[in-house]
Each structure stands twice: as structure tokens, then as C-alpha cells.
């Protein structure tokens, strides 16, 4: 790890193909800043991305990275971290990727509390497949596959996380660069699963949940007397479904990551040239 790492070191030489103005630009910049600020460098960082416009992030960043299949980025991240706890692991994807096809993994990744961060670019729409309803779309949001709106309430990912035993829940907004980077940094620094839902507007397919909407609606928790260590306060804020908050909603300061509780000590990449010492005891057990 070198101390002179700049956030641009995490940039790849591939030009993003996101639409001009897409919220994902800001989300990504914040992620790169957070990684650099926390003293990581590309060679000790592993980014896992899902599928979607959001999932392209691994391509535009420079680090060890895997761009997997739709909805399954979290288990990949868990596998990476368990096999090498010395790596900084960051998982990223969209609201469709994380809360629809990957919803099952989300709940279990939260409760497993492996020390990694999960940044969800929530644009309340399926961007890459060109504008269908996502699990966070509003009940009456008209799309190509829901002409009268999805007709079902949106999921509340932060509530899901809280109910699943999350140790870190935050909400951020991609266009508020400074605050966004700070919040992601806190997630990276958290000892456990650092979950950040980022409002990352889709300028092409979502004309309801726009920059203007979020700018007006968002309340910065730093400007309130919110205490993130108080789970009840967090619960109340999270269940206020009309409110959009920015900041750390909940953090359990005593969180101990899963891999630590499980006693995983170092990288599993090192193995002997032959069977490990004492392997014959495995055979003798069957006497």
C-alpha cells in the first residue's frame, strides 16, 4: 500500500459509455476517492460489479475487478474477501441487480457481515434494458412494461438491510460529490458490511426521480440531531418512506466482521506443493 495514491489511479483508460449526465459518473468518482482516501491502491483492491449500466463500473475503474452475472456480485465479493481478507473488497451494482434478481443475496450478505462495502446505484429504473420498472420504482411510475405503473409499492432496501441485521446503512446522492465520497469512505472504513444506497439518477429513462427531485427532497442527516448508533432512531428514519435522507443512518460500532468471527487468518492463496503436512491423519480417521 502506498500513501501517494491518488483517486485517479483508480481510473481505467476506458472511456465510460454512460449517457452524458448519468448519475453513475458521480457515484464512481466518490468510490474512487473513498478508496484512495482510505489508503488503498489498485493492486490491493478488488471491485465486483453486477450487470446493468451501474455494473459497468468495474470496466471504468482500475483495480482487480470482476464483472459477473446479473444479481450475483455479492456472493463473489464474499468469496474474494473470505479467501483473502487482506484485500479491500467493494461491490457495486444497480437497484435491479441488487434488490430484484439479487435480493436474496442482499439479505444474506447483510446478515453475514463480511468486511466489504456495497454501493448500489439506485436510479429507480432498469437503465441498461432501456427503461423498465425496477423494485425501487414508484407505484405509479409508467414504463414500457408497466404502462399503468408497477402497481406495487417499492421495496425499501434500507429497511430490508436493517431487518436483516445490518451493521452499517447509509444513503447518499451522487451529485453531492463531497458528501457522497465521505459516506462511501465511512462504509469502506466500517468493520463489516458497509451498505450505501446511492441516488444516482438516470437522465435517459427516469423523468420522475431526477436530480431536481432529489436535490429538493434530500435531507442531510448531518444537519439533524440523528444519532447513527441509535437503532431505534435509524429505524424511524428508514421507515419514513416519503423522506429522502443523506448520510449514515445506522452504524453498529461494535460490529465484528464474519471472516474475523470465523477465524479466517490470511490469504488462502498460499498452498504447499503437495498434500499439506498432517494430511495422512485425514486418512487415519477412517480406521
Amino acid at each position: 500500500m502506498s500513501s501517494d495514491v491518488r483517486f485517479t489511479d483508480f481510473k481505467s483508460d476506458k472511456q465510460p459509455t454512460w449517457c452524458p449526465g448519468c448519475g453513475d459518473f458521480g457515484t464512481m468518482n466518490g468510490m474512487m476517492k473513498a478508496l484512495a482516501e482510505t489508503g488503498n491502491d489498485p493492486d490491493n483492491t478488488f471491485i465486483v460489479a453486477g450487470i446493468g449500466c451501474s455494473g459497468k463500473i468495474g470496466t471504468y475503474m482500475h483495480s482487480y475487478a470482476l464483472h459477473g452475472v446479473h444479481g450475483r456480485a455479492l456472493p463473489v465479493g464474499i468469496g474474494v474477501k473470505m479467501a483473502n481478507p487482506d484485500l479491500e473488497v467493494m461491490v457495486s451494482g444497480g437497484d435491479g441487480d441488487g434488490y430484484s434478481i439479487g435480493a436474496g443475496h442482499f439479505i444474506h450478505a447483510v446478515r453475514r457481515n463480511v468486511d466489504m462495502s456495497y454501493v448500489v446505484m439506485d436510479n429507480r429504473i432498469y437503465g441498461l434494458t432501456k427503461g423498465q420498472a425496477s423494485p425501487t420504482s414508484r407505484e405509479d411510475f409508467e414504463t414500457s412494461t408497466s404502462p399503468d405503473g408497477p402497481n406495487q409499492p417499492p421495496v425499501n432496501p434500507k429497511a430490508l438491510a436493517l431487518a436483516s441485521g445490518a451493521t452499517f446503512i447509509a444513503q447518499s446522492f451522487s451529485s453531492n460529490a463531497q458528501r457522497h465520497a465521505e459516506i462511501v469512505q465511512q462504509a469502506v472504513e466500517h468493520d463489516g458490511f458497509g451498505f450505501v444506497n446511492v441516488y444516482s439518477p438516470c437522465v435517459t429513462f427516469n423523468d420522475v426521480d431526477t436530480y431536481d427531485y432529489f436535490r429538493d427532497a434530500i435531507v442531510d442527516l448531518d444537519e439533524t440531531d440523528h444519532d447513527p448508533s441509535d437503532r431505534d432512531q435509524a429505524k424511524d428514519k428508514i421507515l419514513e418512506s416519503e423522506k429522502e435522507y443523506m448520510g449514515v443512518l445506522y452504524q453498529d460500532e461494535d460490529s465484528v466482521p464474519f471472516e474475523e468471527r470465523e477465524g479466517v487468518e490470511g490469504s488462502m492463496a498460499e498452498i504447499p506443493d503437495g498434500a499439506p503436512e498432517g494430511a495422512m491423519d485425514l486418512v487415519r480417521e477412517f480406521y
Binding site: 481505467s12 483508460d13 476506458k14 489498485p42 493492486d43 483492491t45 478488488f46 465486483v48 459497468k56 468495474g58 470496466t59 482500475h62 483495480s63 482487480y64 475487478a65 470482476l66 464483472h67 459477473g68 452475472v69 450475483r72 455479492l74 456472493p75 463473489v76 465479493g77 464474499i78 468469496g79 474474494v80 474477501k81 473470505m82 479467501a83 483473502n84 487482506d86 484485500l87 436474496g104 443475496h105 439479505i107 444474506h108 471472516e259 470465523e262 477465524g263 479466517v264 487468518e265 490470511g266 490469504s267 488462502m268 492463496a269 498452498i271 504447499p272 506443493d273 503437495g274 498434500a275 499439506p276 498432517g278 494430511a279 495422512m280 485425514l282 486418512v283 487415519r284 477412517f286 480406521y287
Partner: protein
């Protein structure tokens, strides 16, 4: 007295059938006798018929037969279920004092031994030991030295305390004495030897092979009959710095294993048919991201949930062809319990040498069969580990492009790119299931696409050159009849061959553990008059592939750069093909 003895205990699930059977099997194995066990079980936890069968001999036994010499029947149904296997000399031990067993009719000329199992067990300290009373009775009938049973009881109950062990020993003696006093001497005299055998099943052998091969991360989701692999690894792999994670489902399991493998660990997941279905989407990701991964399928009867506790070899096509698009992969199918160990070790080497998914295909019959082996069968000094083209900070420079970027998908002549574990300085790179260039960056460039597809396919050719994808041969090499099989049928076929020989049939038998790439059997097939392929499935999936291998080849025109055929291009290609001799296009 038959040379080998077939023994069984049967009752309801929940009656302790498994552990009682295992105690006896272990006692036999410790007494230097070979053992081959099998189970009849239904898909329920309590109730329903279940049996544990032990075939034992001083010679190796490799299969089950349709004959029962001693049957401990805890329920009346046990007798009916096994009626066909009973013969004149069979002995049935049951508790005639139990209300449900009072009207038991013993079939044929079998000998019925009514032993008050429950009453004697209570005398020894508790009704729960009634199975052990039956074991003692069986020792007396077979002339098997009861001291060997004692050792096995110590192993089983040792951690429950001295008193429990002693009570059990006492229970066994009560059974022994009862038979002695009420029924006198039997004709059996079970030989023991000085051999020290180990007794284990296919799932355990796979787990042991994985640990020996340096597997450190296992993620799985419970499913019969693969769960034993996971249970075996749990706790044991930790002693070597590894971990087992029970995932929320198979989609997660294979993706976790993939993540661990990318981080540099040797990783594995194991499942059975329905789980393989769920994992299918990720097969392609494993292959295109060139991640070494061992995916074990312990097959059971399908399709759908099928018959979860019954044997079948029906997933071959799934492991050969499962997944959209076309991907290079290896499919290896061990043919015996000990092969489960060695082929697992090999699977890890293949996975890392060629950076591909390796399907390790086993089946229920092998998974639940415990067999005796001399410990040297699993000689750990023989385990070799080949991690393939891993580069570190010292030699990574050779693989950087002119801008200093690591070429993780370098289109090497042998199809195998360098691998840098995360954490390696200057190795940072992206990998994706999208088609990508040598740096791992997404591309739709038709030339790069072709280059990468060809590169990945070349691994298979390289493996064909470097590895020995052979078969095992038994029987008469000059016989006109050729029998070919894969997977767990080997033992039964070998024994069957001996029976055929006695009847004057000469047969050559090839047992094939490699499904893909597989040995070329065309010469063997052409030399034979009759060719028979034996497999536990309805359609003959392996027969299909080897039949296909010996067909006359058609010429092919293929396109896979992402663009559909065009008329002028096709005309040219067809002309070219016609002008080229057929062999050249093979």
C-alpha cells in the same frame, strides 16, 4: 458357507439403522476384512423403510449382490422388502416379543432367531441399545470375534463416556449369549486378518481429496447426496487454513467459490442435479473469466426433484453441455470410491493449469457406498500440485503490454494466459463474462472475439496433448464383445465379468473416467463385434457421445464473431470447403 457374507440391518428411518450398520462395518474393517456397504433409504427423516447393507469378505468386494445371509429386522416390513434376497441358509434376527413382530412369517427355509432385543437391552442399561444386542447376536451367528465389535463401539460412543461404552459392550454380550444358549452353534466362522483397512465413502473421498489438493474454500448448499462432501470439509478444512461457507442457495455457492478462486484460493462447490441447474448461468462466467473452479455434481435420480435418494447417472449431458453459448470445460467422472479421491486432486490441477471449470461427476451409489482400502491407497506423498501459469511481482513484467497493463487474457499459443492473484503488484486487471480483449476490457470487435474464443478452445487441444485422458481396461483384451462404462458401475461390471467368464463369455471391459476430453475409443470399437455401453440412465448419454465419436465426420462451416452469415461469404466458404480434402477440415 459363502466366501463373502451379506449382512443387513433394516427398520424405520430414525431407528439408528445407519449408525448400527456403520458400527458393524467398522468392526469388520478393523478385523482386516474388506467391506462394501450400500443403503436403501427413502426421502424422509423418520418413518419409512431403511436399511444398511454390508457385504464383506477377506478378498476385495466391489459391488452389491442380490443375496442376504444375515438380516436384522427391526420391523416386519424389513423382511418383506428383502424377501427376494433371502435364501435357504439365511438367518433372520428379530425381536419376537415385540407386539408388531409376533406374527412374523419367515420366508422359505431361512432360519428365524427370535431374540428379545429390547428386554436384553433394558437389562444392559437401556432399551436404546437394542440394535447393539442384535449386533452381538450377529457376532455369535457368524463366529465373528466380539472384541472387534468392542473397538468399534468405543469409537462410536467413546466421547459419551466410559459408562455408555461399557453398557453397549454388555448389551452386545447379552445378544451373543442369548443366541449361544437358545440356538447353539452356527456353521459360520468369519475369518479375520492382520490388515488395517480404512473405511470411507465417495463423498468423504472427494472431500479428503479436495483438502489434500489444497482446496481452502468450499461454498455449498445442502442437497442429497452431495451434502456429505460439505459436512466432511466443515471443521477439517479449517485445520489447514480454509473455510466452508453454507450459502443461501446454489447461485450464491458457485459465485462465492468463483470469488475465492479469483482471489487465488483453490475453491470448490458440490451439489446434485437441481443445484447444478441453478449454477448453470455461472458456468459461462467461470469459463470466460478463465477462473479455475471445481464443480462437483453428485448425481441422483432426476429430472426435477425426481427421486432424491435413488441412483442415476442422468446429468452427463448437463455437465457436458449445460450453459448458454459454448465453453471449454473438463468433465471427469471417478469410477470408484478411491478414484473419487484421486480424480478430485486431478480436477484441481486441471482447473488451475487450464483456468477452466472442471466438472467432477460422481453419483449417489458412490456417495453412500463405504468401502475398505489399505491406507496407502491414499498415499498423501503421491499428491502433486500444479498451479499452472501463476505470475508474481518477479515475473509479471513479461506479461505487461507496452503501457504497463497486465494481459490477463493474453492469447497465448497454448491457449493459457498468465494468472496474477489480487495483491500482486502491477497485476491489477478487470475480468468479465462479457467478451473481452487481452486486457479483460469489454469488446465487440469481431477479430478480438474470434481470437479469444479460439484461445479458450485451444486449452482443450493443449490438454489433449499434455494429459493422459485414458481408460482402465479389464477382462480379455482380444474378446469380440466390448463393454464400455463410466462412473460407479466399474465394480459391478468387474464382478459381472467373472460371472460371464465362468459361463464361457469373453468380454473386454473399458471403464472410462474422462468424459471430456475423453479417450478416443474408435479403434477399440472397430476391433469389436459387439459394443455395449452400460450406464445408469434411460437414454444412454455416454453411448451417444462415443457413438458420435466414431461417426464419419461431416465437414463444417462455423462462424462465431458475432455476425450472421452473409450470402457471398457463404458461397466462398462452401467452395473452399469443397476444394479442401475432408480430413483436412477435421
Amino acid at each position: 458357507m459363502p466366501e463373502d457374507l451379506n449382512w443387513a440391518i433394516g427398520g424405520e428411518a430414525g431407528d439408528g439403522i445407519d449408525s448400527t450398520g456403520k458400527i458393524f462395518a467398522q468392526a469388520l474393517s478393523r478385523a482386516g476384512r474388506h467391506v462394501f456397504t450400500s443403503k436403501d433409504f427413502a426421502s424422509r427423516i423418520r418413518g419409512g423403510y431403511t436399511a444398511y447393507k454390508v457385504r464383506t469378505s477377506v478378498d476385495r468386494v466391489e459391488s452389491v449382490v442380490d443375496r442376504l445371509d444375515i438380516l436384522i429386522a427391526l420391523t416386519e416390513r424389513t423382511i418383506h422388502e428383502n424377501e427376494d434376497e433371502l435364501h435357504e441358509g439365511s438367518v433372520i434376527i428379530y425381536d419376537g416379543e415385540r407386539s408388531t413382530m409376533q406374527d412374523v412369517e419367515v420366508p422359505g427355509d431361512a432360519t428365524a432367531l427370535e431374540v428379545p432385543l429390547k428386554r436384553l437391552a433394558e437389562d444392559a442399561g437401556g432399551a436404546i441399545m437394542l440394535n447393539v444386542v442384535a449386533l452381538g447376536a450377529a457376532c455369535e451367528v457368524t463366529g465373528f470375534p466380539i472384541e472387534n465389535l468392542d473397538e468399534s463401539l468405543e469409537k462410536r460412543f467413546g466421547d459419551k463416556g466410559e459408562a455408555i461404552v461399557e453398557n453397549n459392550k454388555e448389551a452386545a454380550r447379552k445378544g451373543q449369549h442369548y443366541v449361544q444358549e437358545e440356538y447353539g452353534e452356527f456353521d459360520y466362522d468369519m475369518e479375520t486378518t492382520d490388515e488395517d483397512y480404512v473405511l470411507l465413502n465417495g463423498d468423504e473421498a472427494i472431500g479428503m481429496g479436495a483438502i489434500a489438493a489444497g482446496c481452502r474454500f468450499y461454498a455449498g448448499y445442502p442437497i442429497t447426496p452431495a451434502t456429505d462432501v460439505m459436512e466432511y470439509m466443515t471443521g477439517r478444512v479449517d485445520q489447514f487454513g480454509g473455510k466452508v461457507v453454507q450459502a443461501e442457495d446454489e447461485l450464491s455457492a458457485i459465485n462465492m467459490a468463483l470469488g475465492a478462486a479469483r482471489a487465488g484460493a483453490r475453491a470448490m462447490t458440490a451439489t446434485s442435479g437441481p443445484g447444478i441447474d441453478l449454477m448453470t448461468e455461472t458456468f459461462g462466467l467461470v469459463a470466460t473469466s478463465e477462473t479455475p473452479l471445481v464443480i462437483c455434481d453428485v448425481m441422483r435420480s432426476g429430472p426435477s426433484t425426481g427421486m432424491p435418494t435413488k441412483q442415476e447417472q442422468g446429468d452427463l449431458n448437463m455437465t457436458l453441455y449445460g450453459g448458454h453459448g459454448e465453453i471449454p470445460r473438463f468433465v471427469v467422472a471417478p469410477t470408484t470410491v478411491s478414484e473419487c479421491f484421486w480424480k478430485t486432486v486431478e480436477a484441481f490441477n486441471l482447473a488451475e493449469k487450464y483456468q477452466t471449470p472442471v466438472f467432477l461427476v460422481s453419483d449417489l451409489a458412490m456417495a453412500v457406498t463405504e468401502q475398505t482400502f489399505s491406507p496407502e491407497t491414499f498415499d498423501m506423498d503421491e499428491v502433486e500440485i500444479d498451479r499452472g501459469k501463476v505470475v508474481d511481482e518477479n515475473d509479471i513484467d513479461a506479461w505487461l503490454d507496452e503501457k504497463g497493463r497486465f494481459q490477463a487474457h493474453f492469447a497465448a499459443a497454448d491457449g493459457i494466459s498468465p494468472r496474477a492473484f489480487p495483491g500482486t503488484t502491477d497485476g491489477a486487471h478487470m475480468t468479465t463474462g462479457l467478451e473481452h480483449d487481452e486486457l479483460g476490457r469489454r469488446t465487440e470487435d469481431t477479430d478480438v472475439r474470434i481470437e479469444q474464443v479460439d484461445k479458450r478452445q485451444r486449452k482443450v487441444e493443449t490438454a489433449r496433448e499434455q494429459e493422459d485422458f485414458d481408460y482402465r481396461e479389464f477382462g480379455d483384451p482380444d474378446a469380440d464383445t466390448l463393454v464400455i462404462s463410466w462412473g460407479s458401475n466399474e465394480g459391478a461390471l468387474r464382478e459381472g465379468l467373472t460371472l460371464l467368464e465362468e459361463d464361457g463369455y469373453d468380454v473386454r471391459f473399458l471403464s472410462v473416467p474422462y468424459i471430456f476430453p475423453r479417450p478416443d475409443l474408435s479403434e477399440e470399437i472397430e476391433a469389436a463385434e459387439d459394443v455395449i455401453v452400460v450406464e445408469c440412465n434411460a437414454t444412454g448419454q455416454f453411448a451417444d457421445v462415443i457413438e458420435h465419436d466414431v461417426l464419419e465426420r461431416v465437414q463444417r462451416i462455423n462462424k462465431y464473431n458475432g455476425v450472421r452469415f452473409k450470402a457471398d461469404e457463404l458461397a466462398t466458404e462452401i467452395k473452399q470447403t469443397l476444394d479442401t480434402p475432408a480430413e483436412a477440415t477435421q
